[in-house]
């Protein structure tokens, strides 16, 4: 493109706009290499290159150009990529800045944008009235899934999803400030300046690359003697320089949550050709502000008339931005169709830049102020009380047909190559509404304005209906000072912001709603461009009984596209109101919901990806276990050693070997993840009496006991061994998964029900690494390392605890067993865990002991009939159900769960009770979760009387073993029951739950 007189596109006007002609950028659109200027959006660069056709609509696949120059864009959505993984669908061309190497392509079209077969839908559109799909596709029944739905799904959907994992990263920041100013236009900057100079901490954000808001296009306002836009840049720079201010551009406030918590999304690199790898793609700001100043401006509405969607037809403000900011003329012959004065300013700017304005079609009786006269002085024809009846031009508007308002007929054709439209401005009350503030209808100006606040916020400027720049600045400065004052800042001072405004008063607002214009009924007059919702669709919805605006929205999909109705909602409402014959406020306004504009999932996720998705908790022994070949399983957030396969060993073989070795020699097991709570204080035993079903008073220091904890409703909540270290000190253990909730549960009772007890709870789960040494040789393995503790059976019997040293470090040594073998659980301070473990393992390995994992642990305990809470119980099992009624103290006056246990249903004799199961064929291992029936010949639905909770191959028993809960199970000993599987029914015998060493002799070797 070098050598082109017009840098960055043929429609670039020399001397116009604020971009630098020398700074060119090369990008591509649908494979065509194009040149734009640095600072261009895709939309401005394409128009500069004479391209108006940018997309296809959702339903009818109609050719579309850009409607707006901002975030409200419904039409010009594109797929944009930097490389194959950095790809993004549905990007608004009016927002995406171009950079060298950017690739854009149109979407929702096949085979090409100019020639799209999907456009056949447009021809068939009479069939596709609003909600048509509710009325058809019902025959034959199965065709919906197989035929209709797939077709509908393929036709819908705009762009394509990314197909590769996202290589970019995202950042997040919490921020706190006295004042958050949303919007960096004249109002927002003025408020921020006033607040900041009063000493308040201020965050100001704006979605555009530069501050300025409407000053981007409105050249009629001068501030402090310079152009408004220049003032905005200088003010932003001044603010950015202040320590108490953070200025965020390319940053959209998307969600206003409770108590002034506002989510902002900052686009950090999507406009850069070569971002640094440390830069996040986007950054989420979660701001808590003492006060929020909403200066979110207003959004221009389009005119609703037949054929209003052709490429080349756009909002007047958009044309003005393209001209005044980007230096791009949208056409050579541009007509105007308006019901709002501000379109005249656009027309005059265009004319001043050399664009021909063949006609201004004015829907009203006359425009405000002296605009009519000025237009005529400029030689522009103004047709008041006129409407556009139709337009022509397949891929770009080529002519308009103008008729007097209310008249029918073909009208007068006027040739154009672009058309600018304006039906007035909708104040952006989105965030205000999200804050749960109530909007109020202002009948005089025909718009919803902020009404009653629900949070500590203030709306200023155009979003609050303040149109006059002088009044607006006054209001903004007051809001800034007041916000600073409210936050406790006491500095005084008032920034000087003098306005020189040459433009007309924005004035007349009322005529722009379709209801008032009375546009012709024929043809497709689009209300929601992206979803192809026409005025007729809305009238049809009302006719069909959709009288709530929410029904209208859902039935027609008006306002539900990616722009969320920024340009269409008010029109939809006005048409519905007109059809219903009701005033607008009685029809209501659909609720505004976060986000204001779509927000990237990755931004919301931030750092919570990969290893930071959820903490992976590893025990102090993890590294050694890994070195020794452990395979790990996830248990809650913990990584636990599951089994230790040797070369060539299957899981089954490894587990069998581990189980056998533990019973023949001994095994080492990492029990560090078990929850541990230190209960300290003179009332410790009294407290445990209340929290456990067991009685604790008589437990001597140095002894341990198995305890059961219930919920108040009588069901088992957790279990574990509790050791008494001293009269006033207990070492409580919990299940691995239960640790946090058990502590919370105990704190709850301690703080709120039993605050009179002198006792404190401290989590010591992570203080201690726990090495279980289990098996006949357990004592011999640890003996050489133990210091100061007599570990003989007499001195330290089963279920006792001692404090002393092992390997020279302090230990809490428990004599206990979850395997049925002689066993110890060695607690050592976590940082020493690895060293102690290595010392023990060196000796144990030499003695042919093994390491065993959770799977072998499960088998070994099942051989002994020990339950695992959460596996053999769920939240519906009582102690008696689990065969643990011996652990429920009969004489205690109170414990948590005592009342719940007494309820009728918990006393039923036919409750499901824990039993053992032996398969008739000892080689068959039942599947955990398999259901049990008494009558194998019953037809489906079968009567299920229980299920298998635990089931394993037991190498030590030489057969399979299982535990199950079975209705009335304990009275069924010896009975044959059945486990129906998909391919066969397995016969089982009900037994008790102890499969190995029924007398428990092995606990003492």
């Amino acid at each position: 493109m070098s050598g082109n007189a017009y840098q960055g596109g043929a429609n670039r006007l020399p001397g116009k706009g604020r971009l630098t002609p020398a700074k060119t950028v090369r990008f591509s659109f649908d494979g065509r290499i194009l040149t734009g200027l640095e600072g261009d959006t895709l939309a401005s660069a394409l128009i500069a290159n004479g391209i108006h056709l940018m997309g296809r609509s959702f339903k009818y696949h109609r050719p579309r150009g850009v409607l707006s120059a901002g975030a409200e864009e419904p039409n010009a959505l594109m797929q944009v990529s930097r490389d194959s993984a950095r790809y993004q669908p549905n990007v608004r061309a009016s927002v995406q800045e171009i950079f060298d190497g950017l690739r854009a392509s149109s979407q929702n079209r096949y085979p090409s944008l100019a020639c799209d077969v999907g456009a056949v839908n447009d021809a068939l559109s009479p069939l596709f009235s609003a909600g048509f799909y509710y009325k058809t596709f019902m025959w034959p029944r199965t065709a919906w899934n197989k035929l209709y739905e797939p077709v509908i799904r393929r036709a819908a959907g705009l762009g394509e999803s990314p197909k590769e994992a996202d290589p970019d990263h995202y950042a997040q920041r919490y921020a706190h400030c006295d004042v958050l100013v949303v919007g960096g236009g004249l109002a927002g900057l003025s408020a921020a300046l006033a607040a900041a100079e009063s000493g308040a901490s201020v965050i100001i954000c704006d979605e555009q690359p530069e501050m300025g808001g409407a000053l981007h296009f409105d050249t009629s306002i001068a501030v402090n003697g310079e152009t408004g836009f220049d003032w905005a840049q200088k003010t932003a720079a001044r603010l950015a320089f202040m320590d108490n201010v953070r200025v965020l551009t390319r940053t959209t406030a998307f969600g206003y949550y409770a108590q002034n918590f506002v989510g902002l999304t900052e686009r950090v690199t999507d406009h850069l050709a070569l971002p640094s790898p440390d830069q996040p793609r986007e950054r989420l700001w979660q701001v808590r502000a003492k006060r929020v100043v909403l200066a979110t401006g207003a959004i221009e509405r389009h005119m609703v008339f037949p054929g209003n969607d052709r490429p080349g037809i756009m909002l007047a403000s958009a044309a003005r931005i393209f001209l005044n900011h980007y230096g791009v003329a949208i056409g050579a012959k541009v007509a105007v169709y308006t019901a709002c004065d501000s379109a005249y300013e656009a027309a005059f700017d265009l004319q001043d830049a050399g664009v021909r304005i063949p006609v201004i079609v004015e829907a009203r009786d006359r425009p405000g102020g002296t605009l009519l006269e000025e237009a005529r002085t400029r030689g522009i024809e103004v047709l008041t009380r006129h409407a556009i009846a139709s337009t022509k031009g397949r891929l770009r508007v080529s002519s308009i047909a103008v008729v007097p308002a209310g008249a029918s007929g073909k009208g007068r054709d006027i040739e154009v190559d672009a058309l600018i439209i304006s039906a007035g401005w909708t104040p952006s009350v989105h965030l205000f509404s999200q804050s749960r503030g109530k909007v109020a209808w202002d009948a005089e100006s025909g718009r919803f304005l902020p009404g009653v606040n629900a949070q500590d916020c203030v709306s200023i400027g155009a979003c609050a209906g303040t149109d006059d720049p002088v009044a607006l600045v006054e209001q903004a400065v007051e809001a800034g000072l007041d916000a600073a004052n409210g936050a406790g800042s006491e500095m005084s001072g008032r920034p000087v912001i003098d306005i020189d405004h040459e433009g007309s008063d924005a004035g007349s607002w009322s005529a722009g709603l379709v209801g008032a214009v009375g546009a012709p009924e024929s043809g497709k007059a689009f209300v929601d461009f992206q979803n192809d919702v026409t005025a007729k669709d809305i009238r049809l919805a009302v006719r069909e009984g959709m009288h709530s605006i929410e029904h209208v929205k859902r039935f027609t999909t008006n306002g539900m596209a990616t722009d969320q109705g920024k340009t269409s909602n008010m029109h939809g409402l006005a048409i519905a109101a007109e059809t219903l014959g009701k005033p607008i406020p009685q029809v209501g306004l659909t609720t505004f919901r976060a986000p204001y504009t779509p927000v990237t999932f990755g931004t919301i996720v931030g750092q919570s990806r990969g290893v930071l998705f959820d903490p992976a908790r590893k025990t102090p022994l993890h590294a050694c276990l890994e070195t020794n070949g452990a395979v790990f399983e996830d248990v809650g957030q913990w990584k636990r050693a599951w089994y230790f396969p040797r070369a060539g060993e299957t899981m089954h073989a490894a587990v069998s070997r581990e189980c056998r070795t533990v019973r023949e020699v001994a095994g080492l097991f990492d029990a560090s993840t078990l929850g541990k709570i230190e209960v300290v204080g003179p009332d410790a035993a009294a407290f445990l009496n209340l929290l456990y079903t067991n009685a604790w008073d008589k437990l001597e220091p140095g002894r341990c006991k198995y305890g059961i904890m219930l919920r108040e409703d009588g069901f088992i909540y957790d279990d574990g061994v509790v050791g008494r270290l001293a009269a006033d000190r207990f070492h409580v253990t919990t299940t691995t998964g239960g640790a946090p909730r058990v502590l919370h549960h105990m704190e709850d009772y301690l703080q709120t029900e039993f605050p009179h007890l002198d006792v404190w709870l401290t989590s010591i789960t992570e203080q201690w690494a726990v090495i279980a040494v289990q098996g006949p040789q357990a004592r011999d393995i640890i003996a050489p390392f133990v210091d100061g503790i007599d570990i003989s059976d007499d001195a330290m019997p089963h279920m006792s605890v001692r404090e002393g040293k092992i390997c020279g470090v302090p230990t809490r040594l428990f004599r206990m067993s979850f395997t049925g073998e002689r066993g110890f659980e060695i607690n050592v301070p976590a940082d020493y865990g690895q060293s102690v473990f290595e010392a023990l393992w060196e000796r144990a390995e030499a003695m042919d002991a093994c390491l065993y994992g959770t799977e072998a642990m499960h088998v070994l305990r099942a051989e002994k009939g020990y339950i695992i809470v959460g596996q053999d119980t769920d939240g519906t099992v009582t102690p008696d159900d689990a065969g643990l009624s011996w652990a429920v103290a009969k004489k205690k006056p109170d414990f948590v769960g005592i009342a719940g246990l007494k309820r009728a249903d918990l006393q039923r004799p036919d409750r499901k009770q824990l039993v053992g199961l032996k398969t008739k064929d000892p080689t068959l291992v039942l599947e955990e979760g398999a259901q049990i029936v008494a009558d194998p010949n019953e037809k489906i639905p079968m009567t299920m009387i229980g299920h298998v909770t635990s089931s394993y191959w037991s190498e030590n028993c030489g057969r399979s073993i299982a535990m199950a809960v079975v209705a009335g199970g304990r009275s069924r000993m010896g009975e044959t029951l059945y486990v129906p599987m998909p391919d066969r029914t397995i016969e089982v015998e009900v037994t008790d739950t102890v499969f190995f060493d029924k007398q428990g002799e092995r606990l003492n070797g």
Partner: protein
Amino acid sequence: MLLIRCPYCDESRPEIEFRHAGEAHIVRSDKMADLTPDEFERYFFLRDNRKGDVYERWRHIHGCGRFLNAVRNTVTDRFLMTYKAGEPRPALPDPQAQAAATEGNGQ
């Protein structure tokens, strides 16, 4: 994310430091063993679940660890007050004072 004033920390803190702990001022009988099924149902299952101002418990679990009580409006989610566990159920602030509080800072 709500902002909750912890009466122990004497500061407003973000919701994620807290855990909601259900309706407040439900009294656990000192004779639980004698509760009838009806009484147990009332104590353990039935809840006011009011639309409007509710008394509720929170725990500043990732802060000072204390349980506390709050009065919150379940329509606006605005906190009217928070107070320490064990303190008696306070009368609700009069509506005018509430309105005044609404005018000022949310918290």
